[in-house]
């Protein structure tokens, strides 16, 4: 006998599968107190468009919705500031070896300064490739741009980060 799952059941499964990524991504756009609002709006949109979500590209579709909601709702909140705040929240205590490879405040503080100066697109490319391990093709779907364009932008963004980070370490001119 063929069993038919209700739409609500399918949606709950979909929610459970993707809410973690949606929350993570939203946290890179807005401060923590606003994350739940954007996540909720995103899944309400997902419910309303449930039949339209392309199979196999659910994550990219959802992140696109997050992007729109976050940018439309909280435009006054600079992306890079939210990102830097998120990282600051995550960084280890000074006395503790914070990262897996033993990086500490000496490196993290200048990196945060670099991020604050990055434009929104470059920040987002860093997040999507680094934290979400998305390929240029997937990011291209999200941005509606060819994968080659994304590759070039990503290359440029990383180069900027490298150069500014090295400069800051060299000169010690931290904000």
């Amino acid at each position: 006998m063929r069993r038919v799952r209700s739409l609500e059941y399918q949606f709950d499964t979909f929610f459970t599968a993707h809410v973690h990524d949606v929350r993570r991504y939203t946290a890179t756009f807005v401060k923590d107190e606003r994350v739940d609002d954007v996540v909720q709006r995103t899944f309400i949109t997902a419910w309303e468009r449930f039949a339209d979500i392309p199979e196999g590209s659910e994550r990219v579709w959802l992140l696109g919705v997050v992007r729109n909601h976050a940018r439309n709702t909280w435009r006054s909140e600079r992306r890079a500031d939210a990102l830097a705040a998120a990282i600051e929240h995550a960084r280890p205590e000074v006395s503790v070896e914070l990262t897996r490879n033993g990086y500490g405040p000496t490196e993290i503080v200048p990196l945060m300064d670099v991020l604050r100066d990055l434009n929104e697109t470059d920040c987002e490319l860093m997040v999507l490739s680094g934290w979400f391990e998305m390929t240029p093709t997937e990011i291209g779907q999200l941005f509606d741009k060819p994968a080659n364009t994304i590759r070039q932008q990503l290359f440029r963004a990383r180069k900027i980060v490298h150069e500014r980070f090295d400069d800051l370490l060299e000169t010690g001119e931290l904000q």
Binding site: V39, F43, G64, L111, E120, W131
Partner: protein, 230 residues
């Protein structure tokens, strides 16, 4: 000592999930359930890339059709930005011989801004699309774009004309997939655009049986996608 790789460092710094995330997610799901009690999902299958709302304020039927279907690599599309920030709000237009003038009209009409028209500058993004932003001088450079060279090539203009014709044609009559592709091919032949091709990237859905055209100028292609009956 090995120098610090800031990219590797960044990748390690992803913020942890909040400890109360499960509880917060449950609250969100309950709120969505409540919303779902009064709203059923749409059954139609729309192009998904704009799903979730509107960073772009899209208006006019023709512009709508093109924006929803064409890629950013389309050099015949024009984006008019509200601020000198290419991640900000924009109005998308389809085709224009003079992108700056087309966008200026939006400012005059109050669609952008409050009626005061700032100096506007035409730029080109990395995909080759025209972008018009408020500002003067090196504003394109400041937002990471190249300056716009006015005018389209003859070939681009011919493709734009074909696309405009198709928008009008498909807007007044429902063309099925096969007929629409044939019509695009016919129009391309008539315009002498021998290097251009026509296709349908996806089979039309029963809910969206009528063709809408889109241009992908980077690959010299006009494609059709399914749209709802008008």
């Amino acid at each position: 000592m090995k120098p610090t790789d800031p990219i590797e460092l960044f990748n390690q710094l992803e913020p942890p999930t909040p400890s109360n995330a499960d509880e917060r997610n449950a609250t969100i799901l309950a709120a969505v359930h409540k919303h779902a009690e009064t709203t059923r999902p749409l059954r139609s299958r729309n192009p998904w890339i704009l799903g979730g709302g509107a960073v772009a304020i899209v208006f006019a039927t023709a512009a709508f059709a093109v924006l929803r279907t064409s890629s950013v690599s389309d050099p015949t599309a024009t984006s008019c930005y509200a601020t000198a920030d290419i991640t900000g709000d924009l109005v998308g237009l389809d085709t224009s011989d003079d992108p700056v003038e087309a966008c200026r009209q939006l400012w005059i009409d109050g669609i952008l801004g409050n009626g005061d028209v700032p100096p506007l500058t035409g730029c080109v993004n990395e995909a080759g699309a025209a972008v018009v932003v408020p500002g003067e001088g090196a504003v394109c450079n400041r937002v990471g774009l190249a300056e716009l060279e006015p005018g389209l090539t003859a070939e681009q203009q011919a493709a734009v004309t074909v696309n405009d014709t198709l928008i009008d044609l498909f807007g007044t009559e429902c063309f099925d997939q096969a007929t629409a592709v044939e019509e695009v091919e016919r129009q391309l032949d008539a315009a002498g655009l021998d290097e251009w091709t026509a296709d349908a990237p996806e089979d039309f859905d029963p809910a969206t049986p009528c063709a809408g055209p889109g241009i992908d100028a980077a690959s010299k292609r006009i494609f059709v996608i399914g749209a709802r009956k008008r």
